[in-house]
């Protein structure tokens, strides 16, 4: 088996941590895994993309265009920016909350959230859109947005490991003082998809 996952977002949203968690869960399930991360200047509010590959035979850590099976989008516009990486019929789980860049506040660049959202709905068949930032805030902090989305992804049953296994890796990874918040965030992500 082979599963390629793209995680897109903005620097500071916990992109790197999420790709490590997915790869760690894959390894714990006896699979091989690779990740590729954006580290450096882009982490300061820039465009970041992590790539996670898991399965039996994996070559490079970079997923070729049009080959990814899943896109986990932490930010609305960045989700759309990641679409060329996807296969037809790929699954997209995306945060509908926008992070408006400084360039847009200055009027140098537009951010038409409605148009972007419509585009996603029109072009992605397997789309799951949720306000992960609001759910994370409900769990205790907007910083747990990534964990909400991981919960939603786990609920879909398309990963080669169980929901519980993923949650266990999350809890092994995050600082223990944030355990409760992360459990709540994960479960809010799961239950959101249950009600959809």
């Amino acid at each position: 088996m082979k599963l390629d996952i793209i995680i897109t977002g903005v620097g500071g949203q916990g992109n790197v941590l999420s790709s490590r968690i997915l790869a760690q869960a894959a390894i714990k399930s006896g699979l091989s895994a690779r990740t590729s991360e954006t580290i450096g200047m882009a982490q300061r509010e820039g465009v970041v993309m992590s790539q996670v590959r898991m399965g039996d035979i994996i070559y490079s850590p970079l997923i070729p265009d049009g080959e990814a099976d899943i896109l986990l989008g932490f930010e609305l516009a960045e989700t759309v920016r990641g679409l060329p990486k996807l296969k037809n019929n790929a699954v997209v789980i995306a945060n509908q909350a926008a992070i408006v860049p400084v360039s847009a506040a200055l009027g140098n660049s537009g951010y038409q959230a409605d148009k972007i959202k419509d585009y996603l709905k029109e072009h992605v068949k397997n789309l799951y859109l949720l306000d992960a930032t609001a759910l994370a805030a409900k769990a205790g902090t907007y910083k747990a947005t990534n964990i909400v989305l991981l919960g939603a992804l786990a609920q879909l049953n398309i990963l080669p490991f169980s929901k519980d296994k993923l949650l266990q890796v999350i809890l092994d990874t995050v600082p223990s003082k944030y355990k409760e918040i992360n459990i709540r965030a994960f479960e809010l992500g799961c239950s959101f998809l249950e009600v959809m």
Binding site: V10, G11, G12, S19, R20, A23, Q24, I27, S32, A33, R34, T35, S36, E37, T38, I39, G40, M41, A42, Q43, R44, E45, G46, V47, Y59, S60, P61, L62, P64, D65, G66, A77, E78, V80, R81, L83, P84, V100, P101, V102, S103, A104, A105, L106, N108, S109, G110, Y111, Q112, K115, I116, Y119, A137, Y142
Partner: protein
């Protein structure tokens, strides 16, 4: 035991398994996590680790330990090797006793660098063997092997991972470390003192070692020939090998693959066999045609009549990085296969999202204060660090950026030829220690009437918050007596030195004015801890919409990611770090809720 490791962590574990006694380095993306990891492991595995002041210092510290017989690793990014070039070029002549490995990370793209220089080419210039890992597991194995090769040849060995190995994770096998048996100590010998006569002798020895290295590389697992076809052979170095394997599989092409893990020197016999067995050769490598040029030479010397395609024939660019898609394009062109039409995505207009200074970043306030004090005509020379982002709109506060430490010296040069204009040099605290101090001394000695601003955020922020000599602890967490930047400036002969908190805008603007008006070199230390390191969260501010005039000054002059425009309203979002700078800029006291300073 298998563990998910980032390439840089894998290199650190490789060094530990090789039984190092010393590790030294200077942070630089994509290399920084090698030494961060080593610093964490130092106590447990009984070796010494330091963040050095700069790369030249790091290499010399390691050379000293190697002279005593200790295995050492030095870490840096590609441009760091330029700083370490002076000791490196002669250390190649002198040689080493304990294995000495330089882990020098290249950044094709570039993603986080000021150039795309190829360390394999540098290794060739220095006449030193270089290893080029394709993934984290191999990076670990190569690191270990590099120490043996270094001791076998008596030469420093360079390990050159690229971003896609440094910042990639893989399930990596971790083994027990080697126990270093020999007693360490320096033995006095004239071989350690380079004189012209010794240099002449050692140069002949160094040249002979090139063939010895090539012989070792004939039988090393990092080089291998997968023979599948007599028509096309593809040679690939480093991470490109993995792109080639995947591209061949996707295209269903049956070609031989020569995996090169030692791009310099090449294993001559293996390469000769590869060239002889194929009608056409394609070389796939990032950056310079290092492998390709050597293959052309081997073919010429052995009169092998094979076609060698690559960068010299325009199939592959010297700029940027490769990926599977680009390799597929190259292979389809070389094989004359009609290329598959690319999926067209007509994406809607998406926002431009360049990196910016974080919310609450003290640099934003420092730049703003100086712009208020001296206006737009002054030249703001910049340096390497987060604060290079001060060049972004709306601050537009960085007019030059060249290399580490160049802010002060470029300002000095400008001041000598353009009198009457103000030159203000901005550099960070870590950069000040790295190569800023010689520029400062030069400015004083040669009477440059410039202002130097040390953006002292108490860390090396851009590379992931490493400590530096101005702080009270070392790489391994030992207590240290942090050096006082103001006292250093004073000892260097600077007569006007001001230390202010940039969050206090009024005081910051006043200090900036005084410094710029002062005849002769002046120093302003903008002291405030990096917003990302702040332990307690300050109360967030909000904009009172009844008081807001809608003038937009807060957004248009500060460009803080915590202030958004929602419709016609300016709103502070959850990113607010509570620095209060916007509250001091607002003309109508509409920004409220937090505490100032």
């Amino acid at each position: 035991m298998k563990k998910l490791l980032m390439g840089n962590e894998a290199i650190a574990y490789g060094a530990v398994e090789a039984g190092i006694k010393l590790a030294a380095g200077y942070p630089g993306t994509p290399s920084s996590e090698i030494l961060t990891t080593l610093a964490k492991l130092a106590k447990q595995y009984n070796f010494y680790a330091e963040w050095s002041v700069n790369e030249k210092v790091a290499l010399e510290v390691a050379a000293g330990a190697s002279y005593c017989g200790a295995r050492c690793i030095v870490t840096m990014k590609q441009v760091g090797l330029n700083v370490a070039a002076d000791p490196l070029m002669t250390l190649a002549y002198i040689g080493v006793k304990g294995g000495l490995v330089l882990a020098v990370a290249d950044d094709p793209g570039p993603h986080s660098s000021q150039n795309e220089q190829d360390t394999r080419k540098f290794a060739q210039f220095a006449k030193l063997p270089v290893l080029d890992p394709s993934d984290p597991q191999e990076a670990k194995e190569m690191t270990k092997a590099a120490f043996n090769i270094s001791e076998q040849l008596g030469l420093p060995v360079i390990l050159r991972p690229t971003t896609r190995t440094c910042h990639a994770c893989q399930d990596v096998e971790i083994l027990q470390p080697r126990i270093a048996a020999s007693k360490l100590g320096f033995k006095k010998d004239s071989r350690w003192v380079i004189f012209p006569s010794l240099a002449a002798k050692q140069h002949r020895w160094l040249n002979k070692q090139q063939a010895a290295a090539s012989d070792i590389f004939e039988n090393i697992s990092f080089n291998s020939l997968e023979f599948n076809d007599t028509e096309l052979g593809v040679a690939a170095s480093g991470v490109s090998y993995l792109y080639v394997k995947e591209a061949l599989e996707i295209l269903g092409i049956k070609a031989s693959v020569l995996k090169i893990g030692t791009p310099y020197p090449l294993p001559n016999k293996l390469c000769k066999e590869f060239l002889q067995k194929h009608k056409r050769i394609l070389v796939v490598e990032e950056q310079e045609p290092v492998v390709e040029d050597q293959l052309i030479k081997i073919a010429y010397e052995n009169k092998i009549d094979t076609v060698i395609l690559g960068k010299n024939s325009g199939y592959n660019a010297r700029e940027g990085e490769l990926n599977v898609n680009k390799v597929i394009e190259i292979l389809t062109e070389v094989n004359g296969i009609p290329s598959k039409p690319k999926a067209q995505h007509q994406l809607p207009e998406l926002p431009v999202r360049p990196p910016v200074l974080c919310s609450g970043c003290p640099h934003r306030a420092s730049f703003y204060a100086f712009k208020q004090a001296v206006g737009n005509n002054a030249v703001f020379t910049g340096d390497i660090g987060c604060y290079t982002l001060g060049s972004m709109q709306p601050l537009n506060a960085v007019d030059t950026c060249l290399c580490m430490g160049a802010s002060i010296t470029i300002a000095s040069g400008m001041e000598k030829v353009e009198k009457g204009r103000k030159q203000v040099a901005f550099l960070g605290d870590s950069t000040f220690f790295h190569t800023g101090i010689p520029g400062l001394i030069n400015a004083v000695y040669n009477k440059s009437d410039i202002t130097i601003v040390v953006l002292d955020n108490r860390t090396t922020a851009m590379t992931g918050h490493q400590p530096h000599p101005g702080l009270d602890s070392t790489a391994t967490g030992e207590p240290a007596k942090g050096l006082d930047i103001a006292k250093i400036a004073s000892a260097c002969g600077v007569k006007l030195i001001k230390t202010v908190d940039p969050y206090d805008l009024e005081a910051a603007v006043k200090a900036a004015r005084e410094a710029v008006d002062f005849p002769g070199p002046s120093v302003v230390i903008m002291k405030r801890e990096c917003a990302a390191l702040k332990k307690e969260r300050k109360e967030s501010f909000y904009i009172d919409q009844d008081l807001c005039l809608g003038c937009g000054i807060c957004v248009e002059e500060l460009g803080c990611p915590a202030i958004e425009k929602q419709g016609d309203d300016y709103v502070i979002n959850y990113k607010c770090a509570g620095c209060g700078v916007c509250a001091q800029v607002c003309p109508n006291e509409a920004v409220t809720g937090g505490t100032l300073k």
